[in-house]
Subunit: 294 residues, 4 copies
């Protein structure tokens, strides 16, 4: 069973990192039954942190998780050297693996992407989760490239897949990577989790604010209780979809976690989107419906 | 009450237009209670038709609808002249209004977009639905631009909104367009319909293959029966979301319409995506669940 | 020696096709020594024409060229069926070959692109020029894909290359396509012609308004007179670069052809860019300099 | 007279920062007559540096320039807080101003961009150069937005313009910003410098490896010696254009600086492009031609 929660980075109303809130999120998600955590991911707002802040956040995560579950650390960077630097720090901090997107760069190509993963793997001995999220990296990795990376870089055989249609692409990647032990974890807020599992995915890695719902779907699915898994999933989808809105998704997710009592402020670092009354009212409604039907 | 269905264009297995299937879709959707139709939209695969085929499809639609409900005809084109040409044809064929995206062009800007709508409106006396779907036009229209178009071009005060987050953007457009009678119709397969309505949208314009579900949500919402509207909507979302998958969405939609007995073949014109077994199995399951819970 | 001129489509001030001006351009370019023509290209404003206009323009070109040099016809389309339809028309009209970009489509991938070219080639027996111009097609073809197309589709072994850096990519494609008779023609307004030739390109296919300058560079290069080729090229570059400006390039090109006496009006179909006084003054200056130094 | 050189960051063959080479570049460019420097720009490979490296590079620049000319420091960041943090450091280090692009973010809009500049200006009292380079920021700022920023944020009235067609856009911005003291500096490797000046630009800010050529063009232009300015410019264009190639431009620029004796190694940090034999041979030729004709 594999549900990794991407951790948000809580900030107070002045935008400063709030470690107590982060600790509460960790405890809440452990209680929800997650298999592991991902820190310093895109939705952790890692792009809006300095290097010192990255170190500090990862340190809080590692100490507070304290071995209860494994931690994946995001170490994506535009430069190979910086990526290796972040990866070394992650390993030194105790991360079980790292998550890496292709480096952002004009005129990037498949060979350069494969080489990037190979060189990180050669420099640091740690498993790599390949993140396939084209809106962030600006580069779409075709199934053949993901299979090639899995073949050429044995450390990089887990994929966090966020390039829709993810169930369809899951099947295509597994075809291309036949014979290799490739593990695919669906992202996209869990919105296609059931279908990803049906296509052969291993689990989920996403920041959805009620990971217990993801855990339940994956557990039922693994036990072969398909009708129950599907029912649990479909009843969760309205909230997953609502939370996973472009531009304001992270603000919604933090608001949910604030309502769950985990974080003190739902603040997003600017220029991140803030919520309006209509969105908050819609959130009230969909949360009520989803929670009462479970 | 306003639910417009974007009509698919059925093709036989050799890729030829199948007018009988189109007529059956029209009858099915009229029975489902739609307020109108949109022909020659993006999901009608209009981009894969010759000009002669466009004419033929629109002709079949107009004759078979035969005034039962109004018809909107897509007339988007890269050139102003071609857009006016299509718009004239649509009007001559009896379309109630036309739907137009910004013209695709490198270095397009807000002034050129506003001028484009103004010049079409000056050339042809017919209401215009402004389509805001950035992945197709390559241009993101900000709320201020949509409000400006509504102000400067009185014929262009209906917006088919497909730039997420659509509920949030709905509210922003209505703020900017205060005092103008702007009508917003949500697209995106209906996936955010309830929240769009809560934010002030007028209805929906999308190709979702069970428009009765959209009609029910909008009707209940208009009657102020919010809990029922929300319940009906949330129970439909799993299917809406599944149908509205990038790259294979149109193939799924046609498969649903085939299962509903409306179209003879679910064929998509190449290079459109085709479905795999895993997707078909997932469709079985989600259709069953959604239909049985209604 | 291979310099193909992409023909502009002259329009009068009301935006109507002006066949007399087109005939004068053809005669001027034949006198300039071009090896062939390309009609209905991107810079022919083909995107702003109806199907009837396409037919009419191609007809004028074929009749007026009248076998003096070969003609390539652009037949790019979003749908395979439409592309085959255009290709058949081009062949019937007497075109020597057709030029095709990947079909525009969300989530396009390498396999679908290769299949598209293979299916056009299977349907119509005519040589295909593969156009590699990512800003138009929205898809970047890597050297390995271009080599694969050349290998799998023998009819498609000429490439109009417009994905910078074109000299570098020329070398990479030729490496990958070793053993195949791949011919690369540089586009991009001729701005990198010398370097493309040095990297192994066969010639140029572009709309630069003084094709005699391109012809001279290629001829001197073929004769091994490198210093003269380079000198001729470098002295032309200021004008090539100026003409090839994003968004207003076609307007500049038509203005040059108007000044050369070939076309009656420099009109671009809207929403194409129009020139301002500063651009016209800069054009005066660079034309004077380039023409007087040759 | 205003020619700012964007400084490369020299690395040794192992990818480590080479401060001695950077000092030699500074001295060479001061001797070439530049009016100032820009450190930590895009072409300084700032995206491939850690925060510590940024600090170290800026420190070397400030100490070695030692007040001979003003220094602009790049402080672009995805987060407002990080941008302010970098800006404070730049000011503390002695930078005369900072250069900032819009923050990279999905669903960014004009209001958020204007607010970003306003908030940085409110937080730190230092002049801001607004960088308009859409391929990097992912956001195209229209002339009206650039004029709005200049109006609302008096500290942000200098623009590094790199959104082609730059001469045309220069004129449009100056029209919109009438009455404000907006200064436009052309980027894009100097390839349109003359035309930018003719359209009203104030000077250039670019990393071209022979800034003396830029200085000469701007000086002659300012003295009203237009024919000489144009002649000097056109004779430089072949090299400017060659150096400014997408994907490999920085590698070419460093190779030129190596040949000029300034930097010990032309190494680019991976995944940056490396040069092939054909590119090196073409560089030999164009350097010879440009240097001998001046």
């Amino acid at each position: 069973m594999s549900v990794f929660s991407v951790l948000p980075t809580p900030f107070d109303t002045r935008g400063e990192f709030d470690p107590d809130s982060l600790r509460r999120v960790i405890d809440l998600f452990v209680a929800d039954g997650v298999s592991g955590f991902t820190a310093l991911g895109v939705t952790s707002e890692v792009g809006r942190m300095t290097d010192d802040e990255r170190d500090r956040v990862l340190d809080v995560v590692m100490r507070h998780v304290n071995g209860r579950v494994p931690v994946v650390a995001g170490t994506t960077a535009e430069g190979l050297g910086t990526c290796i630097h972040y990866t070394r720090r992650a390993k030194a901090a105790g991360a079980a693996s790292v998550m890496i997107s292709p480096p952002r760069m004009p005129k990037l190509n498949s060979d350069a992407v494969a080489r990037h993963f190979a060189e990180v793997a050669a420099a640091v001995d740690i498993p790599i989760v390949v993140q396939d999220y084209p809106p962030i990296s600006g580069f779409a990795m075709e199934p053949a490239l993901l299979a090639r990376i899995a073949r050429e870089v044995p450390a990089a055989r887990t994929i966090k897949l966020e390039d829709p249609p993810t169930p369809f692409k899951t099947a295509r990647i597994l075809e291309r990577a036949e014979g290799l032990e490739v593990k695919i974890l669906g992202g996209l807020g869990g919105v296609f989790l059931l279908e990803e599992l049906m296509a052969g995915a291993h689990g989920a890695m996403t920041g959805f604010a009620f990971p217990a719902l993801l855990v339940r779907v994956v557990s039922l699915f693994r036990e072969g209780r398909m009708d129950e898994a599907a029912d649990a999933f479909y009843r969760s989808v309205p909230l997953m979809r609502f939370e996973f809105q472009e531009g304001i998704g992270m603000a919604i997710r933090k608001e949910v976690l604030r309502r769950r009592g985990a974080i003190a402020s739902a603040s997003i670092r600017p220029p991140g989107g803030t919520l309006d009354q209509s969105t908050l009212a819609a959130l009230d409604r969909v949360m009520d419906w989803v929670l009462q039907t479970h």
